[in-house]
């Protein structure tokens, strides 16, 4: 896995406090759902943290995630991209997006932008939206999720690992709709595929490591 040396140009690039802009843009940008391990050498940081693509520009990149108190102008090492992102089949004509925990909404933003660029429709379910979305994206209430998923032909969810077992109870998805749902799991991705096991996910075909075989899984692989 390649390591890239970058510089932090801006922190809190948006309204959220968990974004940063780096230069240069990386030659192998992460796909929506994939992540980089990020580490600022010479700081008190002990472990790398996962950073996710938010916005790519020609000469810089905006990444998001929960990161330590880094400073602008600091060197930032990035390794990756790691994992499996959202599948191309999800770049549907009508995409529905929903983060079970609002702090994860940023991680779905790059997917929405990719889909919009392909002239598809995007609907975003959120009770308390944490992002500035373009006007083309329709924002819906959680009570509208059931109707929205029927309308969609692809659905991207983001969920913290600890809440994954309760997902079917928290969000009712009819069996006929499940094939078009992909779930991005938020877990600590620190070991760089050393199989530490902290991100292990129970799937229908056994335990899998979200850092390597995820973080995005088809809904049907996780639940019946």
């Amino acid at each position: 896995m390649k390591t890239y040396s970058t510089t932090i140009r801006e922190i809190n690039a948006g309204e959220s406090k968990s974004r940063l802009r780096i230069t240069p843009a990386l030659p192998a940008p992460a796909q929506p759902g994939q992540y980089y391990r990020a580490f600022a050498p010479g700081t008190a940081q002990v472990l790398p943290v996962p950073l996710y693509p938010f916005l790519g520009e020609s000469d810089s990149m905006v990444l998001c995630g929960n990161f330590p108190a880094w400073q602008t102008s600091a060197k930032l090492l990035l390794e990756g991209p790691y994992g499996n992102g959202f599948s191309s089949s999800l770049k549907a004509r009508r995409l529905l997006i929903h983060a079970i925990d609002e702090s994860l909404e940023e991680r779905l933003y790059s997917l929405a932008m990719d889909v919009l660029q392909a002239s598809a429709d995007v609907a975003w379910v959120s009770e308390a939206l944490t992002l500035d979305l373009p006007p083309q994206i329709e924002v819906l209430k959680e009570t509208e999720f059931g109707d929205a998923i029927q309308w969609s032909d692809g659905c991207a969810l983001a969920v913290p690992l600890a809440r994954l077992p309760n997902l079917p109870g928290e969000l009712v998805i009819k069996p006929a709709e499940r094939h078009k749902v992909e779930v991005m799991i938020d877990a600590p991705f620190v070991c760089g595929n050393a199989q530490c096991g902290v991100c292990a996910v129970e799937t229908r075909s056994g335990w899998k490591l979200a850092c390597k075989e995820g973080p995005v899984f088809p809904y049907g692989e996780l639940f019946q």
Partner: protein, 255 residues
């Protein structure tokens, strides 16, 4: 001043700690040419599932990791990796987690028949009965050097007579245990990070003359710290979470 004396079963006295590099030696890592052997993740006789409350919790100077040491069980691990270990450039130290003498004997005897196994590292919880420690040591006796890995700061010193009697090749002072709150409950896990370094050096100094070589197995996050641990009396170095940190690429933009 560092010791030139080589621990049994390794090409140098530097190595990774169990569980920090996966099941196979990586093509490159922070330690590079310093590494003298490869220590596997913990392997139990039966398969172990991940802990239900698995988590990683940060605290100043380190983190708590609780995973339940998930693995596929000894036989499946051997089936998957024995051939690859045989071809590895470094001798392999399987880190085993036997619960009784029978499991220990089965695992050690199987490992004795594999190629390129340099030693066996037995993970001992700090709280087990002395009688079980003796049972495990007795069962492990054979052709391979045996190391025991104990959480430092635990009362492992009460087993010193046994460890000497069974001519254990070394004691790995590995990550101690601790507790932190998480989601309304308290999680017990292993502690890692540079904040442990002063306590590690203290323990090495206290037991350096115990008659069993000590391997500094936690809290090392720089070559200077490793040198300090060696000067304090450690015979070897195991590196844990330092291996997960990223190092700058060798070329300006990428490695």
């Amino acid at each position: 001043m560092t010791s030139e004396w080589l621990l049994p079963g390794t090409n140098s006295n530097w190595m990774n700690a169990a569980g920090f590099l996966g099941y196979l030696p990586p093509a490159s890592c922070l330690l590079a040419e310093k590494t003298g052997c490869f220590v596997t993740p913990a392997i139990s006789w039966h398969a172990r599932k991940p802990a239900l409350d698995r988590c990683l919790l940060d605290y100043p100077g380190g983190f708590l990791l609780h995973t339940g040491s998930p693995n596929d069980g000894f036989n499946k691990v051997i089936k998957n990796y024995a051939a690859k270990w045989r071809r590895a450039k470094l001798p392999v130290w399987p880190h085993i987690l036997p619960r009784n003498g029978y499991e220990c004997r089965q695992m050690v005897q199987t490992l004795e028949n594999l190629e390129n196994i340099g030693a066996v590292e037995i993970g001992l919880p700090g709280t087990i009965e002395t009688s079980l420690v003796e049972e495990l040591l007795q069962a492990s006796m054979g052709e391979l050097p045996i190391y025991v890995s104990v959480p430092f700061l635990s009362p492992w010193q009460k087993w010193l007579d046994l460890l000497r009697m069974y001519t254990v090749a070394g004691i790995v002072l590995s990550a101690p245990r601790g507790c932190l709150p998480n989601n309304g409950s308290v999680v017990n896990g292993r502690l890692f990070g540079p904040a442990l370094f002063p306590q590690l050096v203290h323990e090495i100094r206290e037991f350096k003359d115990s008659g069993v070589p000590l391997i500094a197995g936690s809290g090392i996050f720089s070559f200077e710290q490793a040198e300090t641990a060696l000067q304090a009396g450690a015979s070897g170095i195991q590196v844990d979470a330092w291996l997960w940190q990223l190092t700058p690429p060798t070329s300006p933009s990428k490695s």
